[in-house]
Amino acid sequence: MTTPLIQIRGLEKTFTTNESWLGQWRFRRGKFSKQKSHVHALNGVDLTIYQGETLCVVGETGCGKSTLARVIMGLAAPSAGEIDYLAERIDHLNDRQRMFFRRRMQMVFQNPYASLNPRMTVYQTLSEPISFHNPLFTQSQVDEKIEELLESVGISASSSNRYPHEFSGGQRQRQRISLARALSVEPDFIVADEPLSALDVSVQAQVLNLMMDKQEERNLSYLFITHDLAVVEHFATRVAVMYLGRICELSSRETLFGSPKHPYTQALLSAIPRLDSNTAEPIRLIGEVPTPTEKPVGCVFQARCPYANQRCYESSPAMVLQTDGSSVACHAIEEGRLWK
C-alpha cells in the first residue's frame, strides 16, 4: 500500500478531430483557409496508484476516464506529461522496450462481446499471451497454465475448446474469460474500463467478487473506471472524481462518501438511485458535459457550478490537501465560501 506503483505527472492528451491534411482546409467567403481543431481529453492529470489498492476513477461520459486508461496502458501516446512504473519512466518507450511492461500491466474492457475474438476458442485466446510472453514454455506447460487459470476464474477446464458464444452463461462467463486473459501473464496492475456496465445486477456481483478474490490472492492493484457510484462505494480504496480531463477530487472511499466536498462530487453522489425512498432530491446540474474543443480557461466545472464566481472563470484551481486527507481542486472551498 505504501509503495507507489504507477505515478502520473501532468498528463495531457489532445486529439485532432481532422487528422488528414485535406480535411483541414475550409472554404469560406471565397477564400481557402487551413485550420486544425482539437479535443482536449486530458488537461494535466496527476495521480499515484499504490501497490495493492483499488483506485476508482468516476465521472460522466466524455470526461476522459477511458482516455486516461488507454494512455496509461500505452494504447495512446500522451501529448505531454510523464508516467512512471515503479519509478521507471514508460510513456516514451517503443513497442519492443515496452514489452516487459505489457506483461506487468493488463486491461479488461467494457464489452465482453466485443473484446473476445469470436473466431478463437478460449484455449487459443489464453494461449496466445502465455506463449508470447513465455517463449520457453513447452506445450504441456502452457496447457497446465491454462487449466489452472480457468479453474481460478470458475470455468471448468474441460470447456477450453469452446468458442465464446458456446457458453450458456452469456455475459458472466465472457467477462470471466476476459479476466482470465488479463491474469494469464501474471500482471501486478490491471486497468478495468467499465467492466460491469454491460452486465446485470446479479452478474455484476459475481464478477466483482471474483475481482476481489484475485486481488487478495495476487496482491493486484486495480485502476477501476466506472460511472456507477454504488460499485465504487463497495470496491474502492481511493476514489478520483474526474471532470473534463481534470481530477477535481481525490480521497479515500470513507471520506468521499462521508463528506463529499467538490460541488460536482456532491451532485454525483446525490444522483445514485438508493433503495430507501426518503433520501434527498438529487442536486440538478444545469446542462451537460461540454466537449472541450477549446482548452478551458479557469475551473473546468465553472459552467455548471452553482457556486462559481469571477475567480473561477479566470484561473484554474489547484489540488489542495484538506484536513481530512482528501485533495480538492475548488476555489470556493479554498476561500471558505463552501464548507466553513
Binding site: V201, L229, E288
Partner: protein, 332 residues
C-alpha cells in the same frame, strides 16, 4: 375498470421443430395513471412481455394463448390497421438506446412531425408547433434550434428526451419504457427518471417500466412485478417488495446490490445463471439456484398465493402460510 389487463398470456418461440416457451401464464392489470415496474435479469422475458402487449412479437415468436385487453378490446386478435390505431396513439414505447430509435438521416423535426401527421389529419405548421411545445415540455433548451438538428448533434441524455417528447406527441394512455436509462450516466439517469415521473403524474399517463435495477424502480413505480424465466414470481407494492421481499429470487436480486453489503465485503451473489429457453428446469424454474429448494420444488411448479405482503409463487411461502393457518385453527 382496468385500463389494460393481461391474462394467462403464453408466448412461444418456434425454433425448428421445437416450440419454446418465453412467457408462461403471465397475468397482470394496469389502472389508469398507475406506474408499474417489471424487474428481472436479462433473459427473464421482460422485453418479450413489453413487446407482446402491443403485439409487436414477430417470427419466430408468437402469442400461443391468453389475452391482452385495452379498455376491454382484445389486442391479440386485431389486424394491422386496428393495431396501428393503438400503437403510438394509445400505447407508446420507449426503447433502451435512443440512437437506435432515432433515424440518423432525418432531423429531429422531420421525425416528430411525421409521427403526428401519420396518425392525425393536421397541417405541417400545426404539427411543428405541437412538436416544439412537446420538446419544450421535456426541458430541451432552445427547441426551435433542436428541431432542425440531426440526432448525432445531440448528447445521449438529450436524445432520450427527444424520444420522450416523441412519445408524448399523441397523448398516449400508457407508456412502456424498456430500460430507458441503462445506456445513460448516473446524473442523466436521475434527470430522465424525474422527467418520466413528472410527465406521467401531470398527464395521468400509466407507465410500465422495464428494468433490471431495483434502485431505479424504487424511485418511480408504485407496484412491481418480478419476473424469472418467463413467469411472474412476485407481485406487490414496490416499497413492500423492497423492504420485505418474499420470493428467494427477489431476495437474491436485492442482496446482490452493492449497497446491501458493507464496503469491502464479498457481495451476495445468486449462484448460477438464468436458464436458457431450451434447458428450462422442471418444477419451479428457480430451484437450481434457490438456497431453500426441496424435492417438491423440483417436481411441481408453485401457484400464485397472497402472502400478506405481496403475491408470490413459492412453495416455501405456501407452507409457511399453511402452518400459520393451522396454528390459528388449533387456537380456535
Amino acid at each position: 375498470m382496468n385500463l389494460l389487463s393481461v391474462s394467462h398470456l403464453h408466448v412461444n418461440f418456434q425454433v425448428k421443430q421445437h416450440s419454446l416457451p418465453a412467457l408462461i401464464d403471465v397475468s397482470f392489470t394496469l389502472n389508469r395513471g398507475e406506474r408499474i415496474a417489471i424487474v428481472g435479469e436479462s433473459g427473464a422475458g421482460k422485453s418479450v412481455l413489453g413487446f407482446s402487449i402491443v403485439n409487436l412479437i414477430s417470427k419466430p415468436g408468437y402469442i400461443k394463448s391468453g389475452s391482452v385487453k385495452l379498455d376491454n378490446k382484445e389486442l391479440t386478435k386485431m389486424n394491422l390497421r386496428q393495431l396501428q390505431e393503438v400503437r403510438g396513439k394509445r400505447i407508446a414505447m420507449i426503447f433502451q438506446d435512443p440512437m437506435m430509435t432515432l433515424n440518423p438521416v432525418l432531423t429531429i423535426g422531420q421525425q416528430l412531425v411525421e409521427t403526428i401527421r401519420s396518425h392525425t389529419k393536421i397541417n405541417y405548421k400545426d404539427a411543428r408547433n405541437i412538436t416544439i411545445e412537446k420538446l419544450h415540455n421535456v426541458q430541451i433548451s432552445s427547441p426551435e434550434k433542436r428541431f432542425d438538428q440531426y440526432p448525432h448533434e445531440l448528447s445521449g441524455g438529450m436524445r432520450q428526451r427527444v424520444i420522450i417528447a416523441s412519445v408524448l406527441l399523441l397523448n398516449p394512455d400508457i407508456i412502456i419504457a424498456d430500460e430507458p436509462t441503462t445506456a445513460l450516466d448516473v446524473t442523466i439517469q436521475a434527470e430522465i427518471l424525474q422527467l418520466l415521473l413528472a410527465i406521467c403524474r401531470d398527464n395521468g399517463v400509466a407507465l410500465v417500466l422495464i428494468s433490471h435495477d431495483l434502485g431505479v424502480v424504487s424511485k418511480v413505480a408504485e407496484r412491481t412485478l418480478v419476473m424469472y424465466a418467463g413467469q411472474i414470481v412476485e407481485e406487490g407494492p414496490t416499497l413492500e417488495i423492497i423492504n420485505d421481499p418474499q420470493h428467494p429470487y427477489t431476495q437474491g436480486l436485492l442482496n446482490a446490490l452493492p449497497q446491501m453489503t458493507l464496503p469491502g465485503q464479498r457481495l451476495n451473489q445468486i449462484k448460477g445463471s438464468m436458464p436458457s429457453l431450451t434447458e428450462r428446469p422442471t418444477g419451479c424454474a428457480f430451484h437450481p439456484r434457490c438456497p431453500y429448494a426441496t424435492d417438491k420444488c423440483r417436481q411441481e411448479s408453485p401457484s400464485f398465493i397472497y402472502s400478506g405482503v405481496s403475491s408470490v409463487a413459492c412453495f416455501m411461502i405456501e407452507d409457511m402460510i399453511d402452518e400459520t393457518d393451522r396454528d390459528e385453527d388449533e387456537q380456535l
